[in-house]
């Protein structure tokens, strides 16, 4: 799935958890979930579950550890979708 398709989907998923709306407006591939969007690290778990539901994939613990920003999230989702 290309970037133009994926980013809007990701934005919808993470919107409820975002604590810095200003940073969210300027979301890019380099946006970090915790550092930039000030998402509570406990909520990363919930984002993982929402991603699983949206894309009908399963994410492992290692995937979660690596999913720190928009770019890594897109890579992991695409890898899963390709499999």
């Amino acid at each position: 799935m290309n970037k133009e398709e994926l980013i809007p989907k990701l934005k919808t998923i993470i919107a409820p958890y975002v604590q810095d709306e200003e940073a969210f407006k300027f979301l890019s591939e380099d946006t970090d979930f915790v550092k930039d969007l000030k998402i509570n690290s406990a909520n990363l778990v919930d984002i993982i579950l929402d991603i699983e539901d949206e894309f009908d994939i399963r994410l492992e613990n290692e995937d979660m550890e690596n999913m720190l920003d928009v770019k890594s999230a897109m890579q992991i989702i695409n890898t899963k979708l390709d499999n």
């Binding site: 958890y17 909520n43 778990v45 919930d46 579950l49």
Partner: protein
């Protein structure tokens, strides 16, 4: 020199009224909050009625963020946070996520068990092998101190933040624990209270014990009958009560409204000796608790003008009245006025003590005694002890100064607190 402690804020979420104004009106009118619940009937409960506060989605969103409400399924925490935030605002403070951390205010907010519906969801998830999909808030909603955790974060409280648990004594105990802390100079303010979940999973165990009434499923408002000859068990309730306790000097410095003074109190246990069991009180310990509360308050038993009893509408009501008559050494027409808030809201379990302390303080501040509804047929054993005039079935306006409130709980635990109309 121990500090004087006053009450400067109230909040309440009760089956017959949400918020102090609505609850005060309900107390005056003798309004019942007990309703029929189809889900209890469908689940084969003997007792198919209960007291559940009416909370709209709109009201929820005034206290919780959308994020906090995602996957939220803990009625006790919901009620506790609403009551707690209301009490805090009533005391003249605000709820602001950017507020400065307040090291001088603590929080003791009790409960029996937390988030039982959420726990059920989690148990089903775990049993289906889906532990990884439980989400991030199961612990926060099901840990006993969940309500304290949510509330302290909403308000930015930095003194002791904890949860106590002592069955149906919980709320009154929380108040006395907060009182101790201020009296001894360890905090300026303590937000105290308690909450309880509602619904079949919290009430089921009581239904199984056959201690809830099954005789009034068709007339819910008549069901909770403390001190009545036809009392046949309690009606389960739920909700939360909260009070802001404050040192007198801090309250005067802020120039805030003072509802009443907490003179003192006592908590003890009957140790399941001398007739006490897991479920029945040791009468000696109950009497001692009341006497010590009076002594610790620096008053005499004759000073007590009104009692807000525990009085659940079980067979133990007559024993409770007998304990009061002996502890106070007062009977007949000499006995104080006595009422049971449970006649209107049922037994709100872990929340009962706090909701009833709020009810007591409201009656003291507004100078009225709420009616004992459903007590038109006073129990003969009670009538043999005290004059029926002392158990009003209609609201009474009364100028009075001193009210004693007691709560008793499973495990043979007792708490009694004495409130006084505030005089400088």
């Amino acid at each position: 020199m121990k500090k004087r402690v006053v009450i400067t804020g109230l909040g309440v979420v009760a089956p017959n009224g949400v918020g102090v104004t609505e609850f005060t009106d309900a107390l005056r009118e003798g309004k019942s909050g007990i309703t029929f619940h189809q889900n209890l009937k469908d689940l084969n409960f003997s007792c198919q009625i209960g007291g559940v506060p009416n909370i709209s989605e709109d009201l929820k969103s005034k206290y919780f963020t959308d994020l906090q409400l995602r996957g939220f399924n803990s009625s006790g925490i919901l009620y506790g946070c609403i009551a707690g935030v209301d009490a805090w605002k009533d005391a003249g403070f605000n709820m602001n996520p950017e507020s400065e951390l307040d090291y001088y205010t603590g929080l003791i907010f009790g409960t029996g068990t937390s988030g039982v519906e959420k726990f059920r969801e989690a148990i089903h998830g775990v049993d289906e092998g889906k532990v990884r999909r439980l989400g991030s808030t199961v612990v926060l909603q099901t840990m006993a101190s969940g309500v304290s955790a949510y509330l302290s974060g909403m308000l930015g409280l930095g003194n002791q933040v904890t949860t106590n648990s002592s069955a149906c004594t919980t709320g009154t105990e929380a108040l006395l624990m907060g009182f101790d802390r201020i009296q001894n100079g360890k905090a300026k303010r303590m937000l105290v209270g308690s909450c309880s979940d509602d619904g079949p999973y919290i009430w089921g165990g009581f239904d199984a014990m056959r201690v809830m009434t099954y005789k009034h499923n068709n007339e819910p408002e008549k069901a909770s009958r403390p001190m009545s000859a036809t009392a046949s068990g309690f009606v389960p309730g739920s909700g939360a009560g909260a009070l802001v306790l404050e040192s007198l000097e801090s309250a005067l410095e802020r120039g805030t409204t003072i509802y009443a003074e907490v003179l003192g109190g006592e908590v003890n246990s009957g140790g399941q000796r001398e007739g006490g069991t897991l479920t029945a009180p040791n009468p000696e310990a109950v009497k001692r608790c009341i006497k010590k509360a009076i002594e610790n308050s620096g008053i005499l038993s004759n000073d007590i003008e009104v009692i807000n009893g525990h009085l659940t509408a079980t067979t133990k009501d007559a024993l409770e009245i007998e304990n009061w008559t002996k502890a106070l050494n007062r009977t007949g027409i000499d006995f104080p006025y006595v009422n049971s808030t449970k006649s209107m809201i049922g037994h709100c379990l872990a929340a009962a003590g706090a909701i009833e302390c709020v009810a007591s303080v409201i009656q003291l501040k507004e100078q009225f005694i709420a009616p004992n509804i459903n007590c038109e047929d006073l129990h003969p054993e009670i009538e043999a002890l005290i004059d029926s005039e002392k158990i009003p079935t209609e609201k009474i306006d009364l100028n009075f100064d001193v009210l004693a409130k007691a709560s008793f709980g499973f495990g043979d635990v007792n708490a009694c607190v004495v409130f006084k109309k505030f005089h400088l």
